[in-house]
């Protein structure tokens, strides 16, 4: 049943560029980016129980990685950009994680927020390196060494780049599915549920949290690369703490207790935000209100709601 739903979703997503207006198609791209980022984020949050308020840092690393590689170092290959930016995020994540996983709950949140803002400060102030508040341009990459020179920017984005990103989402999603259902994933859940007992069962709590952190950083960076190529620019606001807050928002909106929750959350958030922005200049208020309602009324998010509905229907 579940596999049918996934297959259907992939087919629908693949069909979108053929049937929908380019505007909507270009919205799906950031949804892909955030979906991948959130798959990683939720490994740390939903599965390991650590709430980071600074993960936008790694999204920014991905974006700036793509920017520096493409416009300053002339790297054209999308594959290389993805790998190097991802690796860079893991490298940056190592000291951050080492220092942060010693703590839990609110201290973990504040520490990660501090690291995120530290990076933001760095991006903002060191103009010569990072372009300051304007950021750095991101150039179009080549996909599997193909340039697609004949396509203009939009055509490239809603065409080959779209399908590539869809493919990335499927592949990375599958990988995360395996991770979450592996012995490692089981131990992460144990750590979340009762870290003391997990220790007594021989689980190296800090080490596993560290690994989860590194994986989440990698995924966030990949998401950041996609976001940056889509907008053509890497800017410091990507690392601001409110952007980290949005990552949490999206995850909870979709449902953090479910594997697919973050994906649902990413897509819903992007489209909701877009519609609200078109409807009123006070879209932040309504976005905030949505989060409020979710937290108070539907803490298990949209997937939680969907599963509740399904069990009610089945009972009849």
């Amino acid at each position: 049943m579940r596999y049918v739903a996934i297959l259907l979703a992939v087919v629908v997503l693949a069909a979108v560029p053929k049937f929908a207006q380019p505007y909507y198609v270009t919205l799906v791209l950031p949804a892909f980016g955030y979906s991948i980022a959130l798959l990683g984020f939720n490994l740390l949050f939903g599965y390991t129980g650590l709430l980071s308020f600074g993960h936008a840092l790694f999204v920014a690393v991905g974006a700036y990685g793509a920017a520096v590689l493409s416009s300053k170092l002339g790297v054209k290959s999308f594959e290389l950009v993805l790998l190097i930016s991802g690796a860079a995020a893991v490298v940056v994540a190592i000291p951050v994680a080492l220092l942060s996983v010693r703590y839990v709950r609110i201290f973990f949140g504040i520490l990660t927020l501090a690291f995120g803002m530290l990076f933001h400060s760095f991006l903002f102030k060191f103009y010569d390196l990072t372009g300051g508040d304007t950021g750095i341009r991101v150039l179009r990459p080549s996909l599997f060494s193909m340039d697609f020179k004949e396509l203009d920017k939009t055509a490239f984005l809603i065409g080959p780049f779209y399908y590539y990103c869809l493919g990335l989402l499927v592949v990375l999603g599958l990988a995360m599915w395996r991770v979450v259902h592996s012995p490692f994933g089981l131990h992460l859940t144990a750590i979340r549920e009762n870290s003391r007992k997990a220790e007594y069962l021989g689980v190296r709590v800090r080490f596993f949290r560290l690994i989860a952190f590194l994986i989440s950083a990698f995924y966030c960076a990949i998401g950041g690369v996609i976001l940056a190529i889509n907008t053509g620019q890497a800017d410091p606001e990507l690392a601001y703490w409110t952007h980290s807050g949005e990552l949490v928002f999206m995850t909870v909106l979709g449902g953090f207790a479910n594997f697919f929750g973050p994906l649902v959350g990413a897509f819903t958030f992007i489209f909701l935000k877009s519609e609200l922005m078109g409807a009123t200049q006070y879209w932040r208020f309504f976005l905030g209100l949505t989060l409020l309602l979710i937290v108070v009324l539907f803490p298990r998010g949209l997937m939680g709601l969907a599963l509740d509905l399904r069990s009610k229907v089945w009972r009849k």
Partner: protein, 258 residues
């Protein structure tokens, strides 16, 4: 017989407060040693020292000849000792099977496996089922831990410690919260299963003197941080002064053979 686990002159003080004072005991293969004493006597502190959670301020604590002062729970489980808890410790959202699997997998050293499907590994599932069966939980493998009764949660706690295939297992009030009718049944199960599984020694912390009398090969009584007595059950229950100090009143039921 060399001691499997021993403490030599162990003391633990917190500033002026002395929790343990010159505690020496040794436990050898094949023994089931009970630690008894009134509340506040230092049982918990001793347990924490024996399980590597607390570093003693004086003396040594050794497991299989190696110093284990403060090595922490992870290293302890790797060396072959496991414990269950007085206050129930479970993974609320995980099922019985998953809980036991955590122990089985970590014992097998395959924890860092990121890609194989944990739930469907046949060997793991078989082991999980076997361990659950010892404790009568094999009918509830897919039940969420938080939905179990208090007694069942207790059993799960012990079962998961068991699943580590430890050489020594420390049971901290394993039958508290279990109905009296079941207590003996459970102890019997645990002791028999332990023998079958190759557990070499059991340390038991208990308040229920009937159980202590029935199953211990030796009883260690603590009062105010000191060892009051360290004797076989017959000697122990034959001495009214000791009983009075430990339980507070004479216990009618005597040990087997007395």
């Amino acid at each position: 017989m060399t001691a499997l686990i021993e403490t030599v002159g162990v003391g633990k003080s917190y500033g002026d407060f002395v929790a343990l004072d010159d505690v020496s005991l040794s436990i050898s293969e094949g023994e089931l040693v009970s630690i008894v004493g009134p509340n506040g006597a230092g049982k918990t502190t001793l347990v924490n020292v024996l399980t590597g959670l607390l570093k003693p301020t004086a003396g040594v604590v050794r497991f299989k000849g190696e110093d284990i002062a403060g090595i922490g729970p992870v290293m302890l489980s790797q060396r072959g000792m496991a414990r269950s808890f007085q206050l129930v410790h479970i993974f609320p959202a995980m099922t019985v099977a998953e809980t036991i699997a955590v122990a089985v997998i970590s014992r097998s050293g395959k924890s860092l496996d990121l890609f194989s499907p944990a739930r469907s590994d046949a060997t793991v599932r078989a082991t999980v089922r076997d361990v659950a069966a010892i404790f009568g939980l094999d009918g509830k493998l897919d039940a969420e831990s938080r939905l179990l009764s208090q007694g069942e949660k207790k059993l799960l706690d012990i079962a998961s410690a068991f699943a580590l295939s430890p050489e020594v297992i420390l049971l901290d009030e394993p039958t508290s919260g279990v109905s009296s009718g079941d207590k003996h049944g459970i102890m019997r199960n645990v002791v028999d299963a332990a023998k079958r599984a190759g557990v070499k020694a059991i340390i038991l912390v208990e308040h229920d003197m009937d159980l202590v009398a029935e199953y211990s090969s030796r009883i260690v009584a603590l009062t105010a941080g000191k060892v009051l007595a360290d004797r076989a059950p017959a000697d122990f229950f034959g001495d009214p002064a000791i009983i009075a100090a430990v339980v507070g009143k004479w216990v009618g039921k005597s040990a087997k053979g007395a």
